[in-house]
């Protein structure tokens, strides 16, 4: 998973990339040109902002926003939300949110694919191996990359993710 974020953090103008759960827990992060480590406060503040946005748009009968950005004098905060997590990117003042739109969409799609792949692969593989240990609650970066790489799109493509 960290490998996915690192590809995004290498884009020019990207200062920090963070993947958080919807309740504000940092899952993984990658540093771009920023040298400060502030993932926990960033995670808390962005999830608070996203929750506030959800509450504010609810009276209009709108679904929660899928993408949001906050552009300030000294940088931009871009959020892209999916069903399981939220991707947060901090941009420097010279970069625009549109510069990372496609990259963020693709990274989040890859993360979602990896997550679905893991949820499909994990029960089958554990049954065949006879393993007794449950999968870890929070996946490590190494696991994420392996799960993504081990995806085989054709056999799983038609299956429903609900097992």
């Amino acid at each position: 998973m960290i490998a996915f974020l690192e590809s995004l953090s290498r884009l020019p103008g990207v200062e920090f990339v963070l993947l958080i759960s919807h309740d504000g827990v940092p899952i993984a992060h990658a540093r771009g040109c920023s040298e400060s480590a502030y993932e926990e406060s960033l995670a808390a503040l962005t999830s608070q902002w996203l929750n506030d946005l959800r509450q504010h748009v609810a009276p209009l009968g709108w679904h929660p926003p899928e993408r949001a950005f906050l552009r300030g004098a000294r940088g931009t905060l871009v959020l892209r939300s999916s069903e399981s997590a939220c991707l947060v990117v901090v941009l420097g003042r010279e970069a625009a949110p549109e510069d990372v739109r496609l990259s963020m969409d693709s990274v989040l799609a890859r993360i979602e694919r990896a997550r679905h792949g893991r949820s499909q692969v994990a029960p089958g593989s554990s049954a065949s191996a006879g393993a007794t240990e449950p999968p870890p609650a929070i996946p490590s970066g190494h696991d994420g990359v392996l799960a993504e790489e081990s995806l085989q799109p054709d056999p799983h493509h038609g299956h429903s993710p609900s097992n």
């Binding site: 506030d52 709108w62 899928e66 993408r67 906050l70 300030g72 905060l77």
Partner: protein
């Protein structure tokens, strides 16, 4: 190649000048300024922008281009200063470099340069400029941490420049702006000890002395500023107002576009809404105001500085908000916002228009 460019640009400039003489419109002013800028004649480009702005003062594109040409001139001077500093570093060059960066609100770059300057020795002027940088950051973000850092830097500058009124005045302004009247009074007394008999300082001292009783401490005042996002005395700040008509014309222009669902202008607890009617208009305005308040606070906490744009995208479409100092323009459309609309919306922020007494005004509640 450069000579060829110059020859080619000469013809283009001549054509643009003729077009401007035949039809002095903002577009032709802009075209001529662009040709001058392309030919590396920044001073001429600026002159044309100033002339165009004199004739069309509300033209956003001309104003933006003027800003861009000024910025490009500034960057050229900065590059020159860097070259000079590499060969013969000296205090006046460092000072000019840092002052240009501070004035152009390039605070991070200014701080980096000041740290580089301070690395070469303990220069009192550098400490004072660092105090100004941190002060500017506090005025933009209004966070407690930035306020504390600014105060510490100013104290250091005062310790190194005890007979210089500039750091003392900066501290006095800071303490007055956060509403720490008692400390401000003490600072005014210190200013008077450096420059006794200054009538303006004596007047300030008397005003501050009258307010000092029961005044909050610095820490408490900083907390209040962070919480409310307002400096002392900003509550009633009205400033120059544009007529509501110009904003309504912009809103109406937005609302005529097929994919626009709502166009809003909010200021304080009042909003002008084009598109939705009745309760829906009120709910939409209320939502925009809530998003605005939340986002400004988040921007401050994240250290992003003054917020220029907030955009939400989802199944409802795109809601884009362009906040100004005291007002904001907002546009809800079913598709993407688009560059032209984004620029117009950003120009709407800061118009500071009068909203009271307007036909389409919606009052979403004083609690917002």
């Amino acid at each position: 190649m450069k000579l060829l460019d110059r020859i080619l640009s000469y013809g283009r400039i001549r054509r643009a000048r003729r077009a401007l003489a035949a039809d002095p419109s903002p577009r032709n002013y802009l075209a001529l300024a662009q040709q001058y800028a392309l030919a590396d004649r920044r001073a001429d480009a600026q002159r044309i922008c100033v002339e165009g702005l004199g004739a069309f003062p509300e033209n956003i594109q001309l104003a933006r281009y003027h800003q861009r040409t000024r910025r490009s001139e500034r960057e050229a001077r900065l590059a020159e200063l860097h070259r000079e500093l590499a060969f013969s570093p000296r205090a006046p060059l460092w000072r000019e470099l840092c002052e240009i960066l501070i004035e152009s609100d390039e605070l991070t770059r200014a701080e980096e340069e000041l740290n580089r300057w301070l690395a070469t020795g303990d220069h009192p002027e550098a400490h004072y400029l660092l105090g100004r940088v941190l002060l500017a950051r506090f005025y933009a973000d209004r966070g407690r941490t930035q306020g504390r850092a600014a105060l510490a830097a100013l104290d250091q500058a005062i310790a190194r420049l005890p007979n210089d009124l500039r750091p003392l005045r900066a501290k006095l302004d800071f303490l007055t702006k956060i509403g720490a009247w008692q400390d401000a009074r003490d600072c005014a007394a210190r200013c008077l000890s450096v420059e006794p008999g200054t009538l303006e300082l004596e007047g300030r001292y008397r005003t501050l002395a009258a307010r000092a009783e029961g005044a909050p401490s610095i820490e408490r005042a900083l907390f209040e500023v962070e919480r409310s996002g307002r400096l002392a005395g900003e509550e009633g700040g009205e400033g120059v107002r544009t007529s509501a008509g110009s904003v309504q014309a912009l809103l109406r222009e937005f609302a005529t576009q097929p994919d626009v669902q709502a166009a809003l202008y909010v200021r304080g607890s009042t909003a002008l809404v084009q598109g939705p009617k009745g309760a829906t208009a009120e709910r939409t305005a209320r939502t925009v105001q809530s998003i605005l308040a939340t986002s400004r606070s988040t921007g401050r906490r994240l250290g992003l500085g003054q917020v220029f744009q907030i955009q939400l995208e989802g199944s409802f479409g795109t809601l884009s908000i362009a906040p100004g100092e005291q007002d904001a323009g907002a546009l809800l459309c079913s598709g993407p916002l688009g560059r032209a609309r984004e620029e117009t919306l950003l120009g709407m922020a800061g118009l500071n228009a009068a909203t009271a007494g307007s036909e389409t005004a919606v009052h979403p509640g004083a609690d917002q």
